[in-house]
C-alpha cells in the first residue's frame, strides 16, 4: 500500500488554482518522493543556511521510482546553462551521479511559479535554494532507508544514490528501491542540514553542458520546431511605424492564394497557411493604408529630447554631500556621456505555437517568463490561468528581449480564431521592430579631485535607471540621480545587464579622465579608491596580473584600457588592448582579460563561457550597435544595418579569471561581464590615441572625430612624452628622448618616466619616435 505523507503542501501562487495544478502535477510525475520548495521568508532564515541568501525561489524536486532525480523549475534554458548547473547542485546534495538528474524547465503545468529568467538570478536564487530542497529529500530518504535496514537514522550514510549502514556498507538500499510505489510530498522547512561547501565534489568542478550533443545534431527543439497535426503558420500585417492606425484594408488578393485563410480578429490581421513561406507571401498581398504618428525626434536628437522630456532628476543614492564637497575640490570635471537604443537581436526570433481546443490552450513559446505568458494568454483568450499551459522548449537566446511575449499572445488569439494550432514566428524585421529596446542613455557626470583623490562623484542619469551604481569605490561624497525612460518614442525594457552597461561606461570613463588629469596610472588610481573593498580589489589585481599590466602615465600609446563594474552581486574587471587605425577610425580589439568574483561558482566552465559571451556581445554596443529611428519608425530592419559583432570583430582570445570565493554565496554570472566592455574599450582608445569618446557606440566616424578634436586641442596636461615638462609635446621632447635613449644625457626621474612612452621601464629610440609622431600630429 502506498504510503502518503503530506506536510503542508502550499504554494504561493496568486493566479493558480492549487488543487488543479497539484492533480496535474501528480498525474504527470507519478510516484516517488516529491519535495516542494516555495518562496517563503521562513526558508533558511538561519544565517548558517545558504538559503538565507535566496529570498525567492520555487522548485519541485522528485526522486522517482526509477531512482532518477528530476528538478522542476520555472526557469528556462536560453544558452546560459542552467540545464547543467542546477542539476549539479542537486546531484551534489543528494549524492547521486550528475547523469541521473533531469530538469524540467519552464513548463507551467509541471513547474512551480517563477517570475522570469532574468537578472542573472537563476543561480543566485536556485543554487542556494535547491541545496536545501535536496537536503530535505535526502533526509526523507535516510529516514526511510534506516527503517528498511532496521538501524537508527543516525547510523546510516548515503552515497551513489543509495542509503547504507555506516558500519556495514554492504547493507544498502537504493533510492529507487525506497521510492518505488511511494508518493511522498514534503515541503522544505529549511531544517535539514546541507553539506558544507568544503565537502563538494560536483559543484565547483568544470562540467560540460548537457545539451551540447542535442544542439550539434539539430535534435534540440526550439518553439519553431514544434509540429502538430493540422497546424497553420501565420504571417501578420504590421503597421509601417509604431502606433500607426489602419485606415483601410483590402485582403482579397491574399485570400485568393490557394490554401490561405485570412483572419481579422480584434485588429489582428493575419494570413494563415500550412507553409510559412506561403503565408508570408500572402500577407504581402494585403493592401492597407495607415495614419502614422509624427514625432520630431530621431536617434541623433534623442539625447536632448530625453533631457527635455524626462523630467527633473530625482535622487536615488546619496552619501555625504556632493554640493559641499564640490566647493572643496581642487579640480572639478564635468562630462556628458551618451548611448543609443539597443535591440536584443537574438538569433531565434520570437516564436510560439498555440493550440486552443476544448476550452484549454497549450502554447510552446520562446520566452523568458512562461508564467507571465500564461497570465497574458489567459487574459487574451478569456480563459482562467488554470486552463493555460505554457511549455518552454530550448530558447535561442533571450538577453531580456523574450521577457515580452507578443508572439505568444498573437498565436493564442489566432488559434482560438481558427480552431487549429497556429505558429507565429516573427521575421527578422519583426524581431527588430517589435522589440522593447534598451533605452537611450544620457549621463551628466561631475566629479572633483582633492590631493589626488576623488572627493565627490555625482551622476545624473537620463533613461537607463541606476542599475550597477551601488558604490564600490571609497568616494566620501556620492550621489546618483535618475530620470527614467518613459517608453517614448520607442518601447523599452530589459537588455542584458540593463542600464548598467551605460552607467558603467559613464563612471569608468570619468575615472580614467580624472586619472589622466592627475597623470596617474588608471589601475593604480582605481586601487587607491578601493581601500574599503577587498573583493573588488582582488578582482582588479587578478585582471592586472593576468594582463601583465605595467604602470604608466596615460595616454601611453599602448592602447590599454581598464574598467570595473558590479552587477547582480558579482564584481568584474575588464582590461582590453586595442589598436586604432588613425586613417579609418576602425578599432581592432587585440586582447581582453576579464576577471570576476561571483561568489561560489557552481559550474566554472559555464561561468567562463558566459563571461566570454558577455565580452563578445559587449563589443556590439561598444562599436556598432545603436538603433536608428525617425519619429516612431524604426529604420534598422535587418542585420544589414543593425550590426552585431561577427567573427571579424572579436579578439583572438578572451582570457578569463574566476576569483574564487567559495565562502561567498553564488551570485549572478549571465550579465556582469558585459557591463565593463564599453568603458574598457573607450579607455583603451584614449590610451592609444589621446582621444576621448563620450558616446556609444564608438563607430569609426566618432573615433575619427575624437582624434581630430584631440589633435586640435593639443596634448592633455601630464601627457607622457612631455619630457621637458613644459605642458606640451614638441620636437624638443623628442630630441631629449633621443639623447636619453642613446645615453647622451642623464635625465631626472620625472624626465625618464615621461619619455618612457611604452612603460617598458627604460627610454628607447622607439619612445623618441613616438614622441616625435605625437609632436608633429601624426597620431
Amino acid at each position: 500500500m502506498a504510503r502518503r505523507v503530506r506536510t503542508g503542501l502550499t504554494r504561493r501562487e496568486p493566479s493558480s488554482p492549487t488543487a488543479i495544478r497539484r492533480r496535474q502535477f501528480l498525474a504527470a510525475v507519478g510516484g516517488g518522493i516529491l519535495v516542494s520548495v516555495v518562496a517563503t521568508k521562513a526558508v533558511g532564515q538561519e544565517a548558517t543556511t545558504p538559503a538565507a541568501a535566496a529570498p525567492a525561489f520555487n522548485a519541485h524536486l522528485r526522486v522517482g521510482a526509477d531512482g532518477r532525480v528530476t528538478c522542476f523549475v520555472g526557469k528556462i534554458e536560453m544558452g546560459q546553462g542552467i540545464i547543467t548547473s542546477l542539476p549539479m547542485v542537486m546531484a551534489e546534495e543528494l549524492e547521486v551521479p550528475l547523469s541521473s538528474v533531469d530538469v524540467v524547465a519552464g513548463d507551467t503545468a509541471l513547474c512551480p511559479y517563477d517570475a522570469g529568467t532574468w537578472g542573472s538570478l537563476s543561480i543566485q536564487q536556485y543554487a542556494n535554494g535547491l541545496r536545501t530542497a535536496a537536503a530535505q529529500a535526502k533526509a526523507v530518504l535516510k529516514q526511510m532507508g534506516a527503517e528498511q535496514l532496521g538501524v537508527p537514522v543516525a547510523d546510516v550514510s548515503v552515497a551513489d544514490g543509495a542509503v547504507f549502514a555506516t558500519a556495514d556498507p554492504n547493507r544498502r538500499v537504493t533510492y529507487a528501491e525506497l521510492t518505488k510505489g511511494q508518493q511522498i510530498l514534503r515541503q522544505v522547512t529549511g531544517s535539514a542540514p546541507v553539506d558544507p561547501v568544503s565537502a563538494y565534489t560536483i559543484v565547483g568542478k568544470p562540467t560540460p553542458r548537457t545539451d551540447a550533443v542535442a544542439k550539434v545534431t539539430g535534435q534540440a527543439k526550439y518553439a519553431g520546431d514544434m509540429r502538430l497535426p493540422g497546424m497553420l503558420y501565420a504571417s501578420i500585417l504590421r503597421p509601417p511605424s509604431l502606433g500607426a492606425t489602419r485606415q483601410s484594408l483590402d485582403t482579397s488578393a491574399a485570400e485568393a492564394v490557394p490554401g490561405v485563410t485570412v483572419v481579422n480578429t480584434g485588429g489582428l490581421v493575419a494570413a494563415l497557411h500550412e507553409q510559412p513561406d506561403v503565408a508570408a507571401k500572402a500577407i504581402g498581398l494585403v493592401k492597407a493604408t495607415w495614419k502614422e504618428n509624427s514625432l520630431a525626434v530621431d536617434d541623433k536628437a534623442i539625447f536632448d529630447y530625453y533631457e527635455r522630456s524626462l523630467g527633473s532628476l530625482r535622487q536615488v543614492t546619496g552619501v555625504g554631500s556632493v554640493t559641499t564637497a564640490a566647493q572643496q575640490a581642487e579640480t572639478t570635471i564635468e562630462n556628458r556621456f551618451l548611448g543609443g537604443y539597443l535591440a536584443h537581436a537574438p538569433m531565434e526570433p520570437h516564436t510560439a505555437l498555440a493550440d486552443y481546443r476544448d476550452g484549454q490552450i497549450t502554447v510552446w513559446a520562446s520566452t523568458q517568463n512562461p508564467f507571465g505568458v500564461r497570465d497574458e494568454v489567459a487574459a487574451a483568450v478569456g480563459l482562467p490561468a488554470s486552463k493555460v499551459r505554457i511549455i518552454t522548449p530550448f530558447v535561442g537566446g533571450g538577453f531580456g528581449g523574450k521577457s515580452s511575449n507578443g508572439q505568444a499572445i498573437e498565436a493564442a488569439r489566432l488559434s482560438k480564431a481558427v480552431g487549429k494550432p497556429v505558429m507565429v514566428a516573427w521575421s527578422r524585421e519583426e524581431e527588430l521592430t517589435l522589440d522593447h529596446y534598451r533605452p537611450a542613455a544620457v549621463h551628466i557626470v561631475r566629479s572633483g579631485l582633492k590631493a589626488g583623490k576623488v572627493i565627490f562623484f555625482d551622476m545624473g542619469i537620463y533613461g537607463v535607471g541606476d542599475r550597477g551604481t551601488d558604490l564600490f569605490y571609497s568616494f566620501p561624497n556620492y550621489r546618483v540621480r535618475t530620470a527614467d525612460d518613459r517608453g517614448v518614442p520607442l518601447p523599452t525594457g530589459p537588455w542584458r545587464g540593463p542600464g548598467n552597461n551605460a552607467n558603467t561606461f559613464a563612471r569608468e570613463c570619468q575615472m580614467d579622465i580624472m586619472a589622466a588629469k592627475l597623470g596617474a596610472d588608471p589601475v593604480q588610481f582605481r586601487l587607491d579608491h578601493l581601500s574599503n573593498n577587498a573583493r573588488m580589489r582582488a578582482v582588479l589585481e587578478a585582471a592586472a596580473k593576468q594582463f601583465g599590466w605595467q604602470t604608466a602615465r596615460f595616454p601611453s600609446g599602448r592602447g590599454y584600457g581598464v574598467a570595473l563594474g558590479s552587477d547582480a552581486g558579482t564584481y568584474v574587471a575588464t582590461i582590453m588592448e586595442v589598436k586604432v587605425d588613425g586613417a579609418t577610425g576602425k578599432v581592432q580589439v587585440l586582447r581582453v582579460v576579464c576577471a570576476q568574483d561571483m561568489g561560489l561558482v557552481v559550474n566554472p566552465q559555464g561561468a567562463i563561457t558566459q563571461m566570454e559571451g558577455c565580452t563578445n556581445m559587449g563589443l556590439g554596443y561598444s562599436f556598432s550597435e545603436e538603433l536608428r529611428f525617425q519619429g516612431t519608425k524604426v529604420l534598422d530592419r535587418s542585420f544589414a544595418t543593425y550590426r552585431i559583432p561577427t567573427f571579424m570583430d572579436v579578439p583572438p582570445k578572451i582570457e578569463t579569471v574566476l576569483v574564487n570565493s567559495r565562502s561567498t554565496p553564488a551570485h549572478g554570472g549571465g550579465e556582469p561581464a558585459i557591463v565593463t566592455v564599453g568603458a574598457a574599450a573607450a579607455n583603451a582608445i584614449f590610451d592609444a590615441t589621446g582621444a576621448r569618446l563620450y558616446q556609444l557606440p564608438m563607430t569609426p566616424e566618432r573615433v575619427l572625430a575624437a582624434i581630430e578634436k584631440a589633435r586640435q586641442e593639443g596634448p592633455a596636461p601630464g601627457l607622457t612624452g612631455d619630457v621637458n615638462a613644459d605642458g606640451k609635446v614638441t620636437t624638443a621632447d623628442a630630441m631629449l628622448a633621443v639623447q636619453l635613449a642613446l645615453g647622451l644625457r642623464t635625465g631626472t626621474e620625472a624626465q625618464l618616466r615621461a619619455a618612457d612612452t611604452d612603460g617598458s621601464g627604460k627610454v628607447e629610440v622607439g619612445d623618441a619616435l613616438r614622441i616625435l609622431r605625437a609632436a608633429v600630429g601624426g597620431g
Binding site: 550533443v213 510559412p276 538569433m347 537566446g397 527578422r428 566552465q605 563578445n616 556581445m617 542585420f639 583572438p652
Partner: protein, 156 residues
C-alpha cells in the same frame, strides 16, 4: 507541378511543390528536418546554412528549382552510424555553443570550409564564418573547434 528529385543526406528525395519555394521551408515543414534554423530569411545570419554539393549555401535563398538533381546535406545528415562528425564532436568538446540556435548553420559552414580548405588558417576560418552570426558570443570557441576538427580530419 513537376517533381523535384535530389539527394538529401545521402538518400533519394522527391518533393512535389512550387519550384520557387525556398529550400529552407521545404526542409523544415514538408520534410520535417527542423535542425536547419531560420534566423532572418534574408541570407544575412547563416543559421539556415546547408551544403549543396558539398558547398555551404543559405537555404533561405536557394529555391527548390536550384536543388533539382543535386546533393543536399543538412545538420541531420552529418553524423554517420550514430557517430558525430569531427566538427560536431569538436563543437561538443570545445563547448562552442550556448543557446545553440546558430550552431547547425555554423557547423555546416565549417564543414563546407574544411571540404575545400582542409587546413584553414585562423583568418580563413574567420572569413568563412563571418556570415554566421552568433549572439551568445561563442566565437573564439567555434574557431578553436574548427581548428581541432581540421586536425582530426587529417588536414594538419
Amino acid at each position: 507541378m513537376p517533381d523535384i528529385n535530389f539527394t538529401l543526406n545521402g538518400k533519394a528525395a522527391t518533393v512535389n511543390t512550387d519550384p520557387d519555394r525556398p529550400l529552407l521551408w521545404v526542409l523544415r515543414t514538408d520534410l520535417g528536418l527542423t535542425g536547419t534554423k531560420c534566423g532572418c530569411a534574408m541570407g544575412q545570419c547563416g543559421a539556415c546554412t546547408v551544403l549543396l554539393d558539398g558547398r555551404p549555401v543559405r537555404s533561405c535563398l536557394v529555391t527548390m528549382r536550384g536543388v533539382d538533381g543535386r546533393k543536399v546535406t543538412t545538420i541531420e545528415g552529418l553524423a554517420q552510424d550514430g557517430k558525430l562528425h569531427p566538427v560536431q564532436q569538436a563543437f561538443v568538446e570545445f563547448e562552442a555553443l550556448q543557446c545553440g540556435f546558430c550552431t547547425p548553420g555554423m557547423i555546416m559552414s565549417a564543414v563546407g570550409l574544411l571540404n575545400r580548405t582542409p587546413k584553414p588558417t585562423e583568418a580563413e576560418i574567420r572569413a568563412a564564418l563571418q556570415g554566421n552570426l552568433c549572439r551568445c558570443g561563442t566565437h573564439q570557441r567555434v574557431i578553436q573547434a574548427v581548428q581541432s576538427a581540421a586536425q582530426h580530419m587529417g588536414g594538419s
